[in-house]
Subunit: 345 residues, 3 copies
């Protein structure tokens, strides 16, 4: 795309050479062929040092640029618009079942559904209209997938899993694996036997849920592991059996929720945080990165951090302990000296 | 299934309408069609608020329920029994090799083995009787899989991996990837070269081991990475090269064990804990959630927590530090005031 | 292989029976058929207790061994050499496209490339000479893979991903999944709408990069998520959108880097560490295991640890707080007693 075409598309004015633009990038990472943007004069040095071929700048930007310039009222917004034009369009997944896909005759496939190569759809599966199930996916017996849901390659849905409408499941998502449940039995001879507890329930995912790459959600021991509507889960997250996430919550990468825990509406669980099993997190609570929550949070504290999780204030108090101790040491030393002086005085 | 049929199956008595029951669920999550249970009178409010179609209650439960009731001596046990009846049976994997599977002619496949669609079994592989290798699995050259072992879809076994009998490998398990090993070499001209250390060993998994979804176990640099019998590993766990887990241990989700570490019999590593490399954890030690273990644990402490890991007592002492400091501050203040008063008095 | 053949290959001298050797292993884990090694006399008890069939020992080792002995100048080095001989060679991936692979006619496949069974290569893909793309891999539209790069089974490359030359991608790696980006919009009626921010960029991987099993790297929101040359990433690592890792760095298992963060040259991020988004880590900084880095690190501290990350000295001070407090308590008690005695005296 030419810079002049980009300028026209975003309602801006081109100054300088009508270069070729192939992508968008930040000022520092941009290279030849990239379009970048800046609106804040404090980043003038970044603009002057950029390797971009063109840069979107506000009308009142008085300093020069080492490349072509497109003047536009809102450079941020314009760059986002340009990025959409420049990005390779997401591959079209046309309706139809790839000839290499194995779809059981008993499966009910909606209108306009795409099923990719080497995908397995087992018996009794129901797939809603316009759903996309890409290549190399495994959809086990009796699964139900809502309309408009997009499943990327190499996802596995174990038997009985229910996925709502307009969901997105990224590559390598695992739904419905057995929950972790064993009982240690000590036999009469004293030896230990470890018995598997049957995991008889399912996973149910509400509408509008997005689940990141390689995230795992275990099937319930009994009943359902439930991820409520509009919940957005990042990569490599672990959701244990019988967890209930009410909905409209976010779980950032590598966080984990242990079995039978309930997470309220509108919660945000930051990266690498861990929530113990059999507890409740109230609506709207945020759990900070790497925090570990051993007990229910009733919402009195809206944000917890640390392991075990506590208020920001308590975390700060512990961090300050060495400094406070040093202060007290000096005070005690002064008292001792005063006493010694007093006695000798 | 009708409620009366459930009642008959669990040896209970139906009171109320003979409703349809399709699944089991907890009191709070239950909906129409669900059977729930309660034995503890303190949960009376949950029973009264449940949306279940029927609830299992003990004979002496005097309060009502908003649905049909099945009286039974042990409601917990009865619900588990009912769940087994109601759960969709796990899909049958009949003996036989799916026509789309690619099984090298040199592979030795036992009696009654199931091999699913799009699965690749390379040369020299040996699979024991009654093993199930589901769809889209990769079994590399020379792997050995014990009898009765169940491998779910999309597992990969790199060349030479040995899996014992009666194991379960959940979706996305990766066995035998290269261990992480590099040496930084500084060339004569000062530049750095990062050389890969060949990872020449294998992974060996004992009998009765279960490994959760998307867990990774690296092949040894030399010799074997070893997961001993009856070890139960949860999802998204990392086991480094040359780790030796003696057996009968549990590793909960997202925990990790670094290279060459040895874990004794009967250990329990809780979620998100990390164990450093080249150390030994004695038999029966528990490592708490999110704990980080930098040094060997000889079993003197049966439970450690925190990062770096310490006793519960030491963790508590650090948590209490701010409170103790405040107490000392007040005492010092009082002494100072007493001294000031004394001098002026 | 016979012990005598091993001895000849490593330039050593066999003493004792010419046993069969099938693998190498450490003294403690070795079994029948294994070759082990020892050079340090302090491990004499391990040598005497080993179950290995043969052991490599230095010429001046005076104590016996319960098995055959191969005398050699450098037993460590010799064992590594023997391991290379004994290890099953990595399976040969001959040039050619497996008949079950689906390669779009528009894809450009270099000379000597191997493409394994059930692999999907979409339109516009370019694969460099001698690259190996193993079984069940998904290569999305317009991806580019450099020469000599080795992609193990069940990797997914979403559309537009660029992988350099001589890279290694282990099983289950996910490149180019959508970054985690949503905006909460409150509608006029007060209800919340959670809108997905389009992720329009790509992932670009430099030359010589190795990425471990089940690791995930998200595509950029705009521009590129960039993993610079010679970076070595372990298993189950998460790299967020628009992260820039300059190169020659290591990221150990289960660590994570949040969106838009920049990591300098030659950094080492230890296991389970987490780096916040939108910060910069200076060249050569090490982040300790399980550390959490909330703010940029300018290189003043070469090693940080803890969550939030701090210097080793600060971590030690906090650990020592309870002991220091106890010391101050005793001093205060002594002062009080002295004062009380003084008053009464």
């Amino acid at each position: 795309m030419r810079a002049s075409e980009v300028a026209a598309a975003v309602g801006g004015t081109l100054e300088g050479e009508d270069v070729d633009i192939t992508a968008c990038a930040g000022l520092e990472e941009a290279r030849k062929g990239d379009l970048s943007f800046c609106k804040d004069p404090k980043h003038v040095a970044l603009v002057e040092g950029t390797l971009a071929s063109a840069v979107l700048l506000p009308p009142d930007w008085s300093r020069g640029a080492p490349c072509s310039v497109i003047r536009v009222a809102d450079p941020d917004h314009a760059c986002m618009a340009a990025a959409k034009l420049l990005a390779a369009p997401e591959p079209k997944r046309e309706p139809g079942i790839h000839p290499t896909a194995l779809v059981d005759p008993s499966a009910k496939i909606g209108a306009g559904v795409h099923i990719g190569p080497f995908t397995v759809v087992e018996k009794g599966v129901v797939i809603g209209d316009r759903a996309v199930v890409e290549a190399q996916v495994f959809v086990g017996e009796g699964c139900r997938i809502g309309f408009g849901t997009h499943i990327y390659p190499q996802v596995t849905l174990r038997e009985g899993t229910i996925v709502g409408a307009d969901c997105i499941l990224h590559c390598g998502v695992r739904l419905g694996g057995d929950g972790y449940g064993f009982v240690n039995m000590r036999r009469e001879d004293g030896s230990i036997s470890i018995e598997k507890i049957p995991q008889l329930g399912i996973v149910e995912i509400g509408d509008g849920v997005e689940i990141g790459s390689n995230t795992t959600v275990d099937r319930a021991r009994i009943g359902r592991t439930y991820i409520g509507p509009m919940t957005k889960i990042d990569n490599l997250v672990q959701i244990g059996h019988n967890v209930k996430i009410k909905g409209y919550s976010g779980l950032i990468a590598q966080s984990g929720v242990a079995g039978s825990t309930e997470i309220g509406y509108g919660c945000l669980i930051w990266a690498q945080a861990g929530i113990s099993g059999h507890i409740k997190i109230a609506d709207g609570v945020q759990v900070g990165p790497q925090a570990g929550v051993p007990q229910s949070l009733d919402g009195t504290q809206k944000y917890v951090i640390g392991s075990p999780a506590m208020s920001l204030r308590d975390v700060a108090a512990i961090s300050l302990a060495p400094k406070m101790i040093q202060k007290l040491r000096l005070e005690i030393k002064a008292i001792k000296e005063a006493l010694a002086a007093g006695r000798h005085g």
